[in-house]
Point group: C2
Chain length 439, copies 2
């Protein structure tokens, strides 16, 4: 039997429709999605659910006495306006919320209920979203072998993939203080970099890069000292979103031996506004790319029959750039890459099982970054370090501008969605930010 969040139910029915009609017209937020977000109203935090081009104010609904008690009960964990209590409540609470929202927003909902709910809908376009949660812990994996191989070839041509890579999903801890909401501009970092002539210098980063990643949000916590078995790993996943792991390659290159990335990463990390819950992902699981490779040896705590058959997840992630000149001239963002998490060497269940295999505890709302989602093809290289081969091969933009790394004024936009034959596309929204000059 597969993990409960991987099971299809009526909420995944591709023919289901919402009475919020914008949800039915090829929206990335159809009723099968029901992603969560957070926003502020009169400085108070609220949790919302995306439906078409609207947001349902779940925090308001949770305390609206005129609404059915069963609906309010299912929303009890977001009544305080934060997402963390719901994350902490575990997978059954998340499923109950999804089912209640599906019933309330379905075209089968009673006219009376529709009328009662309408005042709690607001336009997404008029709503400024904030970070879904302030994560207490952020670990960043290196789980695409295509990314690891290309980066490895640049820095260790003789041994691009190290021996441990095939046995464990390599990762490091990132900084949480500088995690930013999508849309928040930031200044190009300064830092210590190596000069060709000898000693280092403290300068503005010259090799600013992005990394397109998924954020995997943890849900139900485990106690310290109790690893999460891989078979129940997905029950500890609350959902996924987009993540841009900004990287200052010149700072990183000089600092990283022997203890790994530090200031090359910690100046800014952006999370997407939306969290697509684990239950919404059920139709999009697939076999990992190596599943038919009998040679893939795994230690038992990172192996599982279910994971081998459907541990991969079909999430498309595109990276686009919009320079200051493109914005001024009204030119559409230019797509640099398109990749899919289903190509990933390590699966979400393996990341969770490995992360906790030493007994460390997940706190609700922790972010496990997938690492750069590069695939095998050239157009799926999901950071510029790969895309420009270490800054040696630039690319042209429609304006005639050329890029090898990210320049001041550039906006990097990542968009993502899940898609699978026979099911609607459900979106993760986007994560975007403009780079300001160094101060």
């Amino acid at each position: 039997m597969s993990t409960v969040v991987q099971q299809l139910d009526h909420t995944h029915n591709p023919t289901a429709r919402s009475w919020v009609i914008s949800a039915n017209a090829g929206s990335d937020f159809p009723i099968q999605n029901l992603p969560l977000c957070r926003f502020e109203e009169a400085r108070e935090s609220r949790v919302g659910c995306g439906i078409g081009d609207r947001i349902l104010d779940l925090t308001a609904v949770a305390i609206a006495v005129e609404l059915p008690e069963s609906l309010r009960d299912a929303l009890q964990y977001v009544a305080g306006g934060q997402m963390r209590p719901l994350m902490m409540a575990g997978s059954y609470a998340a499923k109950a919320l999804r089912h209640a929202l599906f019933a309330a927003l379905s075209e089968d909902a009673s006219d009376a209920l529709q009328k009662q709910l309408k005042p709690y809908l607001r336009a997404q376009v008029d709503t400024t979203l904030v970070l879904p949660v302030k994560p207490y812990n952020f670990s960043d994996f290196y789980s695409s072998i295509h990314h690891a191989a290309r980066i490895g070839a640049l820095v260790r041509p003789d041994a691009p993939i190290l021996p441990n890579y095939h046995w464990l999903p390599v990762a490091y801890h990132g900084r949480t203080s500088s995690i930013l909401a999508s849309g928040t501009s930031f200044h190009r970092p300064r830092g210590q970099v190596k000069t060709l002539s000898g000693g280092p210098e403290y300068v503005s980063c010259r090799r600013l890069d992005y990394e397109a990643e998924l954020a995997i949000y943890s849900g139900a916590q485990n106690a310290l000292g109790e690893p999460i078995p891989i078979g129940s790993a997905l029950n500890h996943v609350f959902g996924i979103g987009l993540l841009n792991d900004w990287s200052a390659r010149d700072i990183q290159f000089w600092e990283y031996a022997p203890l790994g990335p530090f200031l090359g990463k910690s100046f800014a990390t952006h999370l997407g506004d939306w969290v697509v819950t684990a239950d919404a992902l059920a139709p999009y699981w697939t076999s990992p790319p190596w599943s038919e490779d009998g040679e893939r040896k795994l230690l038992p705590h990172l192996d599982d029959p279910d994971m081998r058959s459907k541990g991969g997840l079909q999430v498309r992630v595109d990276v686009l750039i919009r320079t200051a000149k493109m914005r001024a001239e009204g030119i559409d963002a230019y797509k640099i890459s398109t990749s899919n998490f289903k190509e990933n060497y390590w699966t979400i269940a393996q990341l969770v099982a490995h992360q906790t295999s030493n007994g460390t505890n997940l706190e609700a709302g922790d972010v496990l970054g997938s690492g750069t989602l590069s695939g095998p093809t050239d157009d799926s290289r999901a950071c510029l370090m790969e895309f420009t081969n270490g800054g040696t091969v630039g690319f042209d933009l429609p304006t005639g501008e050329k890029r090898t790394f990210v320049e001041d004024g550039d906006e990097i936009v990542m968009t993502g969605w899940c898609d699978a034959p026979g099911f609607p596309r459900i979106g993760l929204g986007e994560v975007t930010a403009i780079v300001l000059p160094a101060r």
Copy 2:
């Protein structure tokens, strides 16, 4: 002019005495110390101040209407029972609190005030302390060159000290979820380790180690994008405490390339109960060990005349072991090592300046770990990896037991204090924990 927290004032007067008489008899908590802690009373968090063998309940004092308003005002930031608001309030608020407490606890305080305060004193021995603060960010440095050289010699005999070491204080981010209060036992971690014969295995750690460190707690926050200049770095330091950075050497050794330590560290990290505030440290600053070495080149953002003359800090840290057998037989803990932070290659001001040099923001209560506080001598090797030369040279205990790494049932105790000629010794308390068998 030196940083405000480095300036001596009347609170450092070595002849000052408290009306709490246990503070005057060679206590580690004399009136010149006034360290802070946190405890719970009826499940409510409170901030306390150590004085002799007592704790003054600052949270209760802050809201005690019968007490002088000036005293209560100075304690306003701890009225809510948490240390973070005080940390966030910055160095002037911390100094005001220190001065108010000094006046209130001095033998010069009026009889009336002494009588009013007595009900708010409690015995330390009857009080269970909790973590001073839940840090949102934990970065761990590698700032002792003696530690780096010995570890480097074990893993890279041809290049023990890498070129970047002299130019920046190497560090990585640690995990905050598994930060534990002193006295909290934990289970030996399991993890993936390399076997001699080939592939890895998932087993109980066989090379469990400690690292004696200082925890440097951040105070006033900086805005994202605004590095803290080294000249004002100490104004962003709230105080220091003890830290045991438990390390599973076999897990760490297999996982750490190329992104640094992860599961080899994240299973448990212990913080001492007490925070000695930055103002209390004024008498103990000294010149760094390399200060007369004209060859020590530093980039301007990590250099400062004040730091060169008194950037070092005299903090003695001892490591002791008490095995299960020693406890059963009533044998005193056995001292393994004794080291002093004044030997450190990188100073606190440099750690803060480097950490924020890319613009990342400190949040109040963040922990910057000094890294293992090893000195140049054999008896100052502050982790077993060094002390037993990579596990090759064991040592004997009074019970006849032998150790190369930490065994189940062992308690590791670290104690620390500041000392300088002409000034009283002020203690950091201890950090201790017993290792339980793997589950």
